[in-house]
């Protein structure tokens, strides 16, 4: 069976403009994400995590290597790969919560009789039923990200791509959202590629964690199996041990580049 996502020797170079120099964001990225697994990409800020995710989504094309989804070369963005963005501006501001969630189904011509039930169910699952008639600007940051998640799930994609979806939330809301994503994922079980720079978040959610090197020319340095039973406990000894190991690895990554930078 084909892996859900496969990247081979992927490079991503931004051409640069008259005033911006070209930038090699990714170089030699090899990655295989298994069907139905929760995969976290972890790395310091600016390491090209989002570029990698955009490649899988089909928003941009790689300048080297191949990206495959289920054994086929990735094409234009499509409904099989749902994206949850970091910025809540990705919501459709002029549509209510319910209309946002139903957008994918309606745009594809699914009649109301058929989208009503799944949309209603999702609104309940993400706890937005009472807010379904509100506009995004009337919601809190956490609620907006719930809308984004529900909007993508309504479309029933094969792969869920999440780009630091909780980075802009306060610590308390972030914790609650992580729990909810874990809960929803355990129920739905589909492939998730989740980008984060939050180590605890990665351990909390992931089956495997891919550690990225700092840019330019980022790639995946190591992949770590998170062999902890779910639901996970944060103060668990194994959790803390993993947390410390990852913290050291990431710190080394960030520092290593500083030394290199000093030499230039």
């Amino acid at each position: 069976m084909h892996p859900a996502i496969r990247m081979k020797g992927v490079g991503m170079r931004f051409a640069g403009g008259r005033r911006t120099p070209p930038y090699q964001a990714l170089e030699g990225v090899d990655l295989e994400v298994r069907e139905g697994e929760f995969f976290c990409l972890l790395g310091p800020s600016g390491c090209g995590k989002t570029s990698l995710l955009n490649l899988v989504a089909g928003f941009v094309q790689p300048t080297a290597g191949t990206v495959e989804i289920g054994g086929r070369a990735v094409g234009e963005p499509d409904k099989d790969r749902g994206v949850v963005f970091q910025s809540d501006r990705a919501l459709f501001d002029w549509l209510t919560v319910e209309e946002n969630v139903a957008f994918g189904l309606r745009i594809r011509g699914v009649p109301q009789a058929q989208w009503r039930a799944p949309v209603d169910e999702l609104l309940r699952v993400v706890g937005l039923w009472d807010h379904r008639a509100k506009l995004p600007r009337e919601l809190s940051g956490g609620m907006k990200q719930r809308v984004q998640i529900a909007r993508v799930l309504a479309n029933d994609p094969d792969i869920l791509l999440m780009d630091e979806p909780f980075a802009a939330l306060d610590a308390h809301t972030r914790g609650r959202m992580q729990k909810e994503v874990a809960r929803i994922w355990e129920k739905w079980r589909r492939t998730v590629l989740f980008v984060t720079h939050d180590i605890a978040e990665a351990i909390w959610l992931a089956d495997r964690i891919g550690i990225m090197t700092k840019g330019p020319g980022s790639h995946i340095r190591a992949i770590l199996e998170v062999d902890l039973p779910r639901p996970r406990a944060r103060m668990d000894a194994a959790f803390v041990d993993l947390f410390n190991r990852l913290t050291d690895a990431i710190e080394l990554e960030a520092r290593g580049v500083e030394h290199e930078g000093a030499g230039v």
Binding site: G82, F85, R89, W94, I107, V152
Partner: protein, 265 residues
């Protein structure tokens, strides 16, 4: 602890800006008094008093000249402005999204930005005749530019993520343009339409002064021939009121139509 404003009584509260209706009325009354006093030092042919202007308005209304002029000027603006918007919005939307088209269109717009509508009046008359067409053509030109530039800038600067989100939700490029780019650009389009309407008033008056024998612009300009200065003042005030009313109607309609949008006015 927050500071409380000193309690200076109800009378003072009228003047601290918390009562906008009162402040507006006050300004109006003071202006009228100042105008009356100023006019009393001058002759009615040079600087007529508010009362004389009101009288002129009544006379012009009774004779039917003013209502007719209002109707004609409104008609020219409404037709020209609507046509301008209808032409400008779709092209600007596409130009805002597709860099190649923007590069083709933008130089023309940057050039004609410095060509005021009235400069084209002679050519408009040559092409479309002395009738309504030439005036309306000038209004179309006026509103087209304002609406186009606002819409294109708006469409070019909208956040990329809703469009990307829509693509990942299965929308085609055309659907993205219609269901994401267009609604996201609505506030910019409406600002352009509103500003374009203001410019249309300027253009119609200029056109009517130079080449018309009807309309508010004609009425204002014609008054000088007979030294009916009060009529000119009446026309100017009518023009202001017409603009105010048009803007009010525009805003209230637009707010009702785009209930869910966050509009900047």
């Amino acid at each position: 602890m927050s500071e409380r404003p000193p309690n200076r009584g109800a009378l003072w509260a009228l003047f601290d800006g918390s009562n906008p209706v009162f402040m507006t009325m006050l300004t109006l009354v003071v202006t009228l008094i100042a105008w009356t006093v100023g006019a009393s030092f001058s002759s009615p042919w040079f600087f007529p008093s508010p009362m004389a202007v009101v009288q002129a308005m009544v006379t012009l209304t009774e004779s039917g000249d003013l209502p007719k002029a209002i109707g004609i000027s409104y008609f020219r603006i409404l037709v020209g402005w609507s046509v301008g918007c209808i032409i400008a919005i779709p092209i600007a939307l596409v130009a805002g999204r597709i860099a190649a088209i923007r590069l083709v269109v933008e130089p023309f717009f940057n050039f004609f930005r410095f060509v005021p509508p009235i400069a084209l009046l002679g050519i408009a008359i040559l092409w479309f005749g002395i009738g309504e067409e030439s005036k309306i053509a000038i209004i179309i030109y006026t509103s087209l530019f304002t609406v186009f530039i606002n819409t294109m800038a708006g469409a070019a600067s909208i956040d990329e993520s809703p469009a990307r989100a829509a693509r990942s939700l299965g929308a085609t490029r055309r659907q993205v343009l219609l269901h994401v780019v267009l609604p996201a650009t609505v506030p910019a389009i409406l600002i352009g339409m509103r500003v374009g309407m203001g410019f249309s008033f300027m253009s119609v008056v200029a056109a009517e002064m130079i080449a018309a024998n009807e309309g508010v612009g004609f009425l204002i300009y014609n008054a000088r021939l007979f030294l009916k200065t009060a009529n000119a003042f009446a026309g100017i005030i009518t023009l202001g009121a017409m603009g105010l009313l048009a803007d009010l109607v525009f805003r209230s309609v637009v707010r009702r139509v785009f209930r869910k949008h966050a509009l900047p006015f």
